[in-house]
Structure formats: structure tokens, C-alpha cells
């Protein structure tokens, strides 16, 4: 008898009625994107660990009563995934509306206007109004750093900045304080950014931020553009080196 070792087992599944094959261990989101099936996300960013916080990538899997986050669910043989349904569309709209209601997102005066993932998501999901009561919190703008700025009013707590700071830069300057709607991004032990001893000033956090929460200073309305595509290359280069 000969034994066969399967290193990369292949799996076939259906996404939105389309037959697709993938490697075992791949997530639904990865496979869907490889096959040009769009699943909206905000907290996910290729090159960072999966967070599963924005809940925009929720999909239906046939036979399961629950919804599943596509970014955190690995594919299984014979799975039938549905990424769009009236229910999912409605939930996604509600989630993005809630983000707008949570803090003070005023696009017309934002440096990221026109280059903002939250704004683009709202356009994509055809949101024309917010049905929830606005919270209008009074929030701080941390302007203490020499060339970067944190505006809590525009933060959606996707914690991409926290992850990139800890996982890629290795500084772990950023973290989260507080609970619930009072949670907020902090530097070191909740110090002004400019006084941080650990921040290397690399600027990765600014580039991964989906909104105008983390920006370069000296930018005016609509001038802030982000480069989020450096991460996969960085990860690839590190893997090649090691």
C-alpha cells in the first residue's frame, strides 16, 4: 500500500451559484475576491491579521441558520455561499449607517473627501440617508505629532492602525482604550501622539486608515490620498527574506 500525502488539498464550493475551486484553509473572502466576487469589507486589509469587527462581509451559508463573516470563515467542501441577498444588503446598509451615526463624519470638510473607504462604501451600498439617531459626541483631535494627525471624529475603530503598528512595524504604539461607543484609539498609555516614546513615525497607520481619522498634516479638504497596497508587498518581501 502506498500512502499519499496531500499537501494542499483542493476544495470545491459554490459562491453565488458559481462553482469555484480553492485550497483548503483559504477563507471565503479570499476565494471570492480571487474570483471577482465582491464582498464589502472595512476592517479587513490584506497583510494584516483578520479582525472580524465590521461585520460587512457577513454571508449566508446554505444549511446554517447563522450568518458567517467571510473574512474569518474557511471554505469547506461542498459549501454553498450566498454573498448577496435582500437581507444581507439591508444589514450592510444599517451597519454603514450606524458608523455614520456613531461619530462626526462630515465629508464636506474632511481631508479624505473623495478618497475615503467609508464614503465609497456608502455610495456602493446606495445609502442616501441615515435612519438612526445621531450621537454627536464631542471628540478630540490629536495634533501633537509633527507630521501626522489623529481625528477621533472620523475613526470607525477598524483597528487597522493598531494591527499594522503591532504586527508590521512592531512598535505597538497604538491600542484601544475604553469599551463600547466610548472605545478610542490611543498612543502608548493614552498620551499625546507627539510625546510617544515608541512611535517610529513610519506613517503606516496613516496609509492603512480607511477614513480621514489618520492623516498627514498640511493636507486640505480632499487632498489626503492613502496607499494601502504596500502591505502585501511588504509581507511577501519578508517571507522571501526569511
Amino acid at each position: 500500500m502506498t500512502s499519499v500525502t496531500l499537501t494542499a488539498e483542493s476544495i470545491t464550493l459554490q459562491i453565488d451559484g458559481k462553482d469555484i475551486s480553492c485550497r483548503s484553509g483559504e477563507t471565503i473572502l479570499q476565494v471570492a475576491r480571487e474570483n471577482n466576487i465582491d464582498i464589502p469589507t472595512l476592517c479587513f486589509l490584506e497583510g494584516l491579521t483578520v479582525w472580524g469587527g465590521c461585520r460587512l462581509c457577513m454571508v449566508e451559508i446554505a444549511g446554517s441558520p447563522k450568518l458567517h463573516a467571510a473574512c474569518a470563515t474557511t471554505c469547506a467542501e461542498g459549501m454553498a455561499v450566498s454573498t448577496t441577498s435582500p437581507r444581507l444588503k439591508e444589514y450592510r446598509k444599517m451597519i454603514v449607517e450606524m458608523l455614520f451615526a456613531e461619530r462626526n463624519h462630515v465629508c464636506s470638510v474632511c481631508v479624505s473627501n473623495g478618497h475615503c473607504e467609508l464614503q465609497n462604501m456608502a455610495v456602493k451600498l446606495e445609502i442616501d440617508h441615515v435612519r438612526f439617531p445621531y450621537r454627536f459626541p464631542r471628540l478630540e483631535v490629536d495634533n501633537s505629532h509633527d507630521y501626522m494627525r489623529l481625528d477621533q471624529n472620523r475613526c470607525i475603530l477598524c483597528v487597522r492602525c493598531v494591527r499594522v503598528c503591532g504586527e508590521i512595524e512592531g512598535a505597538h504604539t497604538k491600542d484601544v482604550k475604553g469599551r463600547g461607543v466610548l472605545a478610542a484609539i490611543i498612543h502608548d498609555l493614552d498620551q499625546p501622539w507627539g510625546e510617544s516614546q515608541t512611535c517610529t513615525g513610519c506613517g503606516k497607520c496613516v496609509n492603512v486608515c480607511p477614513t480621514g481619522a489618520l492623516t498627514q498634516r498640511g493636507t486640505a479638504v480632499g487632498e489626503m490620498t492613502k496607499k494601502t497596497d504596500f502591505l502585501p508587498y511588504l509581507t511577501l518581501m519578508r517571507e522571501a527574506k526569511s
Partner: protein
């Protein structure tokens, strides 16, 4: 410790306590201690000493006796005293040799005591939780000895599976199945964790078990560790339970000193170490993945499952997480057998459950009853009904994740299935009773406020959804709500339930959903009142609640 030493220690301790003619037990748990039961204990000791009766009377502090509303409780031989104060000490000691003190007597024949079935709490109120010797005299560590010397891990898991024990933390997952999953998981290092992060409003069952009989929890964990092949255990207790922390610390130290935990327990190959970790009181840390993150020293937020802790838990190792009460059920099952345990309770819910009775009820305190008891018997027989001639309205079970059960459903039985069918959950065992004066929308708002402040903030539906639901409930309560607000509230409940990351978010709409199910007229009444007060206009058109702020 050698197996023979445990037996000789037990026999000696029993002979020692039999040498006393009288025994006085004083409840020294948080409830009674807040009424100076610790002073009472000391005064009783002094009284006995001053009368020169130290060789005849044994005075000791014990765990909870259940009827907390009448505390401090004192058991003097066969008599139970209630509302005992330090100044009654002399009369109580006097009463030992003459007649019991009539004005303090508590009737032990009332249904509150007679209708209970004590399995987990059988030693609570009998043993001194701070004395290992006393616990051993009452049979502590006998089950561990039996397991280590006569049973294989597979046999232990089989015994737990056969007993039908289900997780007492809330969800009711079969304990035997969980143990089997962890035991089959690969990896040389495994952990067992005891979840003592009890945070539901009005719940104090686990606190009582940890304060009243800590060795039983340790023994249960050691047996679980043997069954799944773990060598390390962690007890996660919230720092708001200082007495439980103190008693557990002492219990761990004593057990370690007597080699009941540590290397080569009872001379076998099995080693087990336990560490105590304190939580800072975040409710979400009762969720298993958040608890693991907290133990690891990280921010206590949940992560998506799978992978489940059974495969990927503490520090990435297979981890067994059970509730305090679940572990406390293990030793009796091993000692008396799975068949004995399985005959208590119902078809699918075996054994007993501790409930914490609070709210508008005559007897507040802790009870342990067989699963499947009708809710009516618990409320009216054991708990004595609603005081001041008021009408019973609803009982909230399962904490902020649970729901309200109205008076018309009082005849349902209390077990996992029927509570779920009624739109509530068993939860960890809190029961908050409400009378006719409670407004159910206000009740829903209270629980939503709890969920809002306890949401960790990781996922959007829970973080913002609980805030928005609370805001809408607040509007409706304050008679500012519109029919649209009510519809939006319903939509939000559905969305938060479906899309949230962890159990806290997924179950946070339950208090709203269950009150909507049985008391929708109260919501509609408030909305109608709002419309009558403001005309048939929305709150926005009335000009109130619009706060314009200058944006940065």
C-alpha cells in the same frame, strides 16, 4: 499526599468534630458578612471561651445557607437562627444547653428549605471553606482519589457523558462532549479554565460556590484535567469578588501544601497546577475567547469562532473552559455515579441548578432545585410569592442575554428547552422577579443600558447597535417615541442578533424581543401617549431633542 493519608485525615477530622457536643455554624459569605456576621462569629467564639465551653462547643464560619434576605443566618445544632446580630451571641450559646432562642428561630420546615435538592451546594453551610481539614471531613477530594486510582480518562469522560451534565454557564452545551473534544485534540500542552467571571445583574450563584466550597471547584477542575490530559488550570475570577478570591487563594495554597494539587498527586503520574487570574470586571470577559485573551494579558475582546478553544485556546493550546457550577457538579457525579445524577431532572436537562432569586419577591437568596421544576413552584412555594399584596408580573431569567417570562407562562418547567421556547434562556441562573409596578419597557431599557456599557466595542452591530437601541428605548420610555422608532427598534434587534460577533451582542436584543413578545401593549401605550402629548408628529417636528453642535 498518599491515598491512605487522605482516608486517615478524614477519619481523624470526623472523630475530632464528633468530640464536640455542640456545633455553631455562622454564614460568612458576602451577603451575611455585610451584616456583620464576621463580628458575630468572633463574639460567639469569645462567648464560648468565657463560659469555658471550648471543648464542648465548636464555632465555625461556613458558606451560604440560602435564605440571604433573613441573614445573618446561624445554625446551632438543629436550630436555625435568622437576623442574628452580635448582641444575640450570648443567648445563642445559652440556647445550646437550654431552649433555642424563640424570637430568632427560622423555620426549617418551610418550602424554601424542604423543596430544594442540594447537589452542588450540599456542603455549603456545613463546611468551613477556609479549612481543608473540615472539607476533607465532608468528603472533599474523595472523587479525585477514585478517579486517579481506579479510572482511566476515557472512563471519566464516559461517566460525565452518561450523567447528562450540561454546561451551567448558560448555553447548556453537553459537558461530556466538550471534554471528549478537548481530550481528542492534539498537542502535548493543554489547559483547563474555570470561568468565574459572573457578571449578570442579580446573579451570585458562582460567587457563593467559590466562597462556600472552593475545594469542590478545585477537585472538579483536577478531575477534568485528568480526563482531558491537561496539567495546568486557570481560575478566572472577577476582582469584584474579593472574598471569593481570598477563599480560592487559600484553598489553592492549602491543597498545594497537602499535595492535593501539584506533582504526582496521590503518588500517581498525574500532575496538576492551578493559577488564579483576576478579571477587571468586564462583562464580555465571561465570553470564552475574550476570557482567554484576558488571561493571556491582552485586551479582553472576543474573536471569531471557529477555531474553538477546544482546539485553539489559551496560548494556542487546546483548552477546556467550564463554568464554576459545572466543575462543582463533577465530584458528586463521580462519587455517586452517572445513573444517580441522570435520574434528577428532565429528559434532556439533568441534575440540579442553582438560582439567585432577587427583585420583588419574599425570599431572596440562593436556591438549588432539580431541573424541570415548574416556575410557579419556584416563585410561589420556594420564594414565597410577591410581597405587599402586589401582583406578580414577570420573571427575568438569564441576565442581559435572557428574557422576561410573563405570569401566563408560570406553569412552564425550568429547563434549557422550555425556557428557550418561552423566548428566554437558562443563563447562569439569575432570576429577577418583577411585580405590577414595573414597566417592562423600562426593564428592557435597563438591560440595554447594561449591554451598551459592557459592549467591548470590537464589532459595529454591538457597539453602535446597543447604543442606538438604548437611545430608541429611552425615547419610548420618556414618551418621545414614534411608531417609526418602534419599528426601527425591531429592525435593529433583528440586525444586531444576526450580525454581532459574540454571544453578548447576539443576545443583547433578547430583553427587548421578549418584552415585545409578551408586553407589546406597554410599548404601544407609551408611543400613543407620546403622540397624544405632541400631536401626531415625529419628535423631530416637535422641535425637541435636536441639539445642534458646532462641529470641529
Amino acid at each position: 499526599m498518599k491515598p491512605e493519608e487522605l482516608v486517615s485525615m478524614m477519619e481523624k477530622a470526623r472523630a475530632d468534630s464528633a468530640a464536640f457536643k455542640h456545633e455553631i455554624r455562622v454564614c460568612t459569605e458576602s451577603g451575611c458578612m455585610s451584616l456583620q456576621s464576621d463580628t458575630l462569629l468572633k463574639t460567639l467564639g469569645d462567648e464560648v471561651k468565657s463560659r469555658g465551653m471550648t471543648d464542648k462547643v465548636h464555632v465555625k464560619g461556613v458558606g451560604c445557607m440560602g435564605l440571604c434576605c433573613n441573614g445573618p443566618l446561624v445554625k446551632a445544632d438543629a436550630a436555625m437562627y435568622q437576623f442574628a446580630r452580635p448582641e444575640n451571641a450570648s443567648a445563642i450559646v445559652e440556647g445550646l444547653s437550654t431552649q433555642p432562642v424563640a424570637e430568632l428561630l427560622c423555620d426549617l420546615q418551610q418550602p424554601f428549605f424542604t423543596r430544594q435538592k442540594l447537589v452542588v451546594r450540599e456542603n455549603s453551610g456545613n463546611v468551613d471553606p477556609e479549612s481543608l481539614i473540615d472539607c476533607i471531613a465532608h468528603g472533599a477530594y474523595q472523587a479525585l482519589l477514585k478517579v486517579l486510582t481506579t479510572m482511566t480518562p476515557q472512563q471519566v469522560i464516559q461517566e460525565i457523558s452518561d450523567s447528562g451534565l450540561r454546561g451551567r454557564g448558560g448555553a447548556g452545551f453537553p459537558t461530556g462532549l466538550k471534554w471528549a473534544t478537548v481530550s481528542k485534540a492534539g498537542g502535548s500542552t493543554k489547559y483547563v479554565i474555570c470561568n468565574g467571571d459572573e457578571g449578570d445583574p442579580g446573579a451570585f450563584m458562582d460567587r457563593s460556590v467559590m466562597e462556600g466550597d472552593p475545594h469542590r471547584v478545585l477537585e472538579g477542575m483536577a478531575i477534568a484535567a485528568y480526563a482531558v490530559g491537561a496539567e495546568n488550570g486557570v481560575i478566572y475570577v472577577r476582582a469584584e469578588y474579593p472574598l471569593a478570591v481570598k477563599r480560592l487563594t487559600k484553598a489553592i495554597n492549602l491543597a498545594r501544601r497537602h499535595e492535593l494539587i501539584g506533582h504526582n498527586i496521590f503518588g500517581t503520574k498525574f500532575s496538576f497546577n492551578v493559577e488564579l487570574r483576576l478579571g477587571a470586571g468586564a462583562f464580555v470577559c465571561g465570553e470564552e475567547t475574550a476570557l482567554i485573551a484576558s488571561v493571556e494579558g491582552k485586551r479582553g475582546v472576543p474573536r471569531p469562532r471557529p477555531p474553538y478553544p477546544a482546539n485553539y485556546g489559551l496560548f494556542g493550546c487546546p483548552t477546556l473552559i467550564n463554568n464554576v457550577e459545572t466543575y462543582a457538579n463533577v465530584a458528586p457525579i463521580i462519587n455517586k455515579g452517572a445513573a444517580w445524577f441522570a435520574q434528577i431532572g428532565t429528559e434532556k436537562s439533568k441534575g440540579t441548578k442553582i438560582f439567585a432569586l432577587t427583585g420583588k419577591i419574599k425570599n431572596t437568596g440562593l436556591i438549588e432545585v432539580p431541573l424541570g421544576m415548574p416556575l410557579r413552584d419556584i416563585i410561589y412555594d420556594i420564594a414565597g410569592g410577591v410581597p405587599d399584596g402586589k401582583e406578580f408580573k414577570a420573571v427575568q431569567t438569564g441576565g442581559p442575554s435572557g428574557g422576561c417570562i410573563p405570569a401566563e407562562l408560570l406553569d412552564i418547567t425550568v429547563d434549557y428547552e422550555s425556557l428557550a421556547k418561552a423566548g428566554s434562556i437558562m443563563g447562569s441562573g439569575g432570576m429577577i422577579i418583577m411585580d405590577e409596578t414595573s414597566n417592562m419597557v423600562d426593564v428592557a431599557r435597563f438591560f440595554m443600558e447594561f449591554c451598551m456599557t459592557e459592549s467591548c466595542g470590537k464589532c459595529v452591530p454591538c457597539r453602535v447597535g446597543t447604543y442606538e437601541m438604548h437611545e430608541l428605548l429611552d425615547r419610548i420610555c420618556e414618551k418621545r417615541g414614534t411608531p417609526e422608532d418602534l419599528q426601527l427598534l425591531k429592525d435593529l434587534c433583528d440586525m444586531v442578533k444576526q450580525t454581532s460577533l459574540c454571544g453578548l451582542g447576539q443576545s443583547s436584543p433578547n430583553p427587548v424581543l421578549s418584552t415585545l413578545r409578551y408586553f407589546e401593549h406597554e410599548y404601544l401605550d407609551l408611543v400613543k401617549q407620546a403622540q397624544a402629548a405632541h400631536g401626531d408628529q415625529s419628535h423631530a417636528a416637535t422641535g425637541e431633542h435636536i441639539e445642534l453642535e458646532v462641529l470641529p
